[in-house]
């Protein structure tokens, strides 16, 4: 691990002031990804600002039945919170399907948003080629072992996937990220937070280097009480998703779909909001045929590689199963 200086922030504005205008400085939250990447030599900040003692861990109701989750709320506390379990069960399930109890006790909501890919070629600097880690060095995965890689939205530069479960649920729930920078606070729609790789895979998100995630807002979505997270992985527990689905349905009395929210994990460089599938669902009767048609529409542009083409059919079936589960809820 490269040397760094350490300081502890006690006030959010002070933290933002301390980081602004400097390069190679990072905020330190739970550390479960950053410290690991520093051990691997992938990240080497010269300075760490520990933000764990900032008063940003609250989970509170917003006017109009939304919920605000503080940027430093621990994943375990969010998952177990009554407001989340009752209004947004998909988020609680997504969080509990990720990592282990120990890691969830450490990991923060803000840190989870900023998780970096688990692509082997990115994570291990012994591999020379990774455009994300070292721009213009090439991509080891495209012609390498690419079983865990992207099938949607990828570029010639990068086929990495975003590893978070939580973010897949937040994508489906139309969450808003509140970020504070030197010029004050701004709101970032969830779909605009993470980026597709394009020609700049080194940039995972649109958050500025001097911005601090203050909170994540969940807008009111009454029908999200009927929602579910389905995660398909190599082990029954404690493994990253091969494919995951966050789904919520607003059903009319005649089983007609009034509204749908659908997002996929494990398939793209960002949590993948399934807009094409949602369009196909609206106004249709909630049944397997409808769900399959929606899945086909979403995966139509999918492209597989040598080892991950199985994900295309897997994603379709996972969509059908997740939607069927939600439709069967009381």
């Amino acid at each position: 691990m490269s040397p760094f200086t350490y300081s502890r922030a006690t006030d959010a504005n002070q933290a933002v002031t301390a980081i602004s205008g400097k390069s190679q400085v990072k905020f330190l939250g739970g550390g479960t990804n950053l410290i690991d990447l520093m051990k691997m030599g992938v990240e080497a900040p010269k300075e760490l600002i520990d933000i764990n003692r900032l008063p940003l861990a609250q989970i509170e109701e917003l006017p109009g039945k939304g919920v605000r989750i503080g940027g430093l709320a621990r994943n375990s506390d969010v998952a177990e919170h009554e407001l989340i379990k009752t209004r947004y069960p998909v988020l609680s399930e997504a969080l509990l399907s990720g990592a282990s109890p120990q890691l969830r006790n450490m990991a923060t909501v803000g840190g989870n948003l900023l998780q970096r890919t688990r692509c082997y070629y990115f994570y291990d600097p012994a591999f020379p080629a990774c455009n994300k880690r070292k721009p213009s060095s090439g991509c080891g995965a495209i012609d390498g072992y690419n079983r865990i890689h992207a099938i949607l939205g990828q570029s010639e530069q990068c086929i990495a996937t975003h590893p978070s479960d939580m973010c897949v649920a937040l994508a489906a729930l139309d969450a808003i990220v509140r970020a504070r920078g030197p010029n004050g606070e701004r709101e970032i729609a969830f779909g605009d937070f993470h980026r597709l790789p394009g020609d700049t895979p080194e940039r995972d998100t649109n958050l500025g280097p001097d911005e601090l995630i203050i909170a994540v807002d969940l807008p009111a979505m009454l029908f999200a009480a009927r929602s579910h997270y389905l995660k398909v992985r190599d082990r029954a527990s404690y493994a990253f998703a091969l494919v995951s689905v966050a789904a919520a349905l607003d059903l009319g009395s005649n089983k007609k779909i009034n509204a749908a929210r659908l997002a996929l994990g494990g398939v793209a460089h960002k949590p993948w909001r399934a807009n094409a599938a949602e369009k196909k669902l609206i106004g249709q009767e909630a049944n397997e045929k409808t769900f399959r048609a929606a899945a086909e529409a979403e995966l139509a542009p999918a492209k597989g590689y040598k080892y991950n083409s199985f994900k295309i059919e897997l994603a379709k079936r996972a969509i059908v199963r997740a939607l069927s589960t939600v439709a069967a809820m009381g």
């Binding site: 691990m1 760094f4 330190l28 550390g31 690991d36 051990k39 890691l103 450490m106």
Partner: protein, 223 residues
């Protein structure tokens, strides 16, 4: 943090000029205990840490590092410790390499195996992915702090009664994790216990016995 640990080893070797003795961790540990006074078998109290003879060992700078060492105060198993360490030192390395609380184990050192699990303010965490300096002022409990004097913690007894281990390397992490599990109230079925213990890997495959031990401890706690 391989390079950091490596630096520590080198520095200790230089300081004590005993490369052959210090080459093997187990022997090294014994040697340090002898230096510190053999009566402090596993837990070395605060007085030893502040003793001049050990100060030199504690204030090693990591190999090639330019970080200045910092003063860190930790409360572990009810005792206060003051350490002069590089900010890079993880909580696990501080426990094992500086304070010689070697119950917590280093398995993967990447938060994947759970052998390093300790309790911080009553919550289980992976001490390998956390810097020691992040935990100033918090209540840290390791496997060494679970027993009440000579009386083992109910989970420690249950692990012995049910043979919840073979080689024992993952056991301190398993037990610390299980202590938190019972407190979290996530031990209500076999499936729930397996899921909520999935952050602790046992290479020997003692899982059925670990499950039995946890169930018995839960039963006894309720009785």
């Amino acid at each position: 943090m391989a390079s950091d640990s490596g630096g520590l080893f080198e520095s200790e070797t230089d300081e004590l000029n005993e490369p052959s003795i210090l080459g093997h961790p187990e022997t090294r540990r014994k040697f340090i205990r002898q230096v510190a006074g053999t009566s402090a078998a596993i837990t070395i109290g605060p007085s030893f840490i502040s003793a001049a003879s050990l100060d030199r060992v504690e204030s090693t700078s990591a190999a090639g590092g330019t970080s200045d060492s910092v003063n860190v105060r930790l409360k572990i198993n009810g005792k206060d410790y003051t350490l002069d360490i590089d900010p890079r030192v993880t909580l696990l390395d501080a426990l094992r390499e500086r304070l010689h609380l070697t119950g917590s184990k280093k398995g993967c050192d990447h938060g994947q195996c759970g052998a390093c699990t300790v309790l911080v303010n009553g919550r289980r965490i992976n001490s390998c992915l956390s810097l020691a300096i992040m935990h100033e002022g918090e209540e840290i409990t390791t496997i060494e702090g679970l027993a009440d004097g000579e009386e083992l913690h109910p989970l420690q007894s249950a692990f012995i009664d049910h043979d919840g281990f073979q080689c024992g390397y993952c056991t301190p992490g398993q037990i610390c994790s299980a202590v938190a599990l019972l407190k979290e109230n996530h031990a209500n079925s076999d499936g729930e216990i397996r899921e909520w213990m999935s952050g602790n890997i046992c290479r020997c495959g003692a899982y059925p016995n670990i499950l039995a031990a946890i169930k018995e401890a839960k039963r006894k706690a309720r009785a």
